[in-house]
């Protein structure tokens, strides 16, 4: 009887371990999601800088560059260019918004308040000759 009880307990431990595995897997995904968020934030900053650099040049495109022009990999993001200030002191502000890519369908970064990431860069417009 005692040997049977011990076997039962061993089975229970295995079941407990297996039951906790999904939780561990979820936490591993979360850790990886953290890495992805960091990468996306740096990406947004770099894209905003590149967009501002392009938008200040003369001749300027009327609508300015699109996000795909700047970063072909950023297909689902958004780029806004706002020009302001006096003509001789005008500036352009490039704001890039990138959604945080989910590492798994079981992790929704937006639901956890972890996205989207946003970056803005303001540069002075170059005068047109």
């Amino acid at each position: 009887v005692r040997r049977g009880a011990r076997r039962g307990q061993r089975g229970a431990e295995t079941l407990e371990f297996l039951g906790a595995l999904p939780l561990l897997a979820l936490l591993m995904l979360l850790a990886w999601q953290g890495v992805v968020i960091g990468r996306e934030r740096a990406e947004a900053e770099a894209d905003a800088r590149a967009a501002a650099r392009t938008a200040v040049l003369c001749p300027r495109q009327p609508a300015g560059p699109s996000l795909v022009d700047i970063d072909p990999a950023a297909r689902s993001g958004d780029l806004r260019l706002v020009r302001s200030g006096a003509p001789d002191q005008g500036v352009v502000t490039a704001t890039v918004t990138l959604p945080v890519q989910a590492v798994s369908s079981s992790v929704d970064p937006a639901a956890w308040g972890l996205g989207p990431v946003r970056a803005s860069v303001t540069m002075r417009l170059e005068p047109c000759p």
Binding site: A20, Q33, V35, G38, A42, R49, V56, V117, R124, P127
Partner: protein, 170 residues
Amino acid sequence: VRRPQRGAVSLLMALLASMLALAFGIAVFLGAARGAEEHAQSGADAVAHAVALRANALDRRDELSIEAQAGRWCTQGGEADPAAEADGELCTPLFDEAARIAAANDVELVTVVVGPDTRDLHAAPVPGRLAVLVVVAAAGPAAGSPQLCGRSDATPLCRPEAASAAELVW
């Protein structure tokens, strides 16, 4: 005999879960630090570019260029030598422009230097190109923590700094 072993398994699982949660936090924190470094670099680029544009548009640009070639530069921040400074009236518009663009980009000015392009140095005072060097700092993810960040802690976590240089074709 079995109970302590079961406790050990639970303890191990709890430890593993804590480590993974900690890994998530560290990953987000380091990602934010990387983002802050990029932000500082964007700010430095924007300020250097704006100051170079402003310098080229100065009414007394040639005068500033000759002053700079004579060793009297425009320097803000750092350890500036008053004897090696250009006329304040020449430099003020450049510093104002640097402050305006730094504020627009939410970065703090550390150093602004406007000097000559050494390739244009001549024995006679002839106007040449002006080179701009800028250092700025951004707020890192741990900026509000007195435990992690001292007052002048220029680390990526606390106060990442970035430098940029600019010069316009004249």
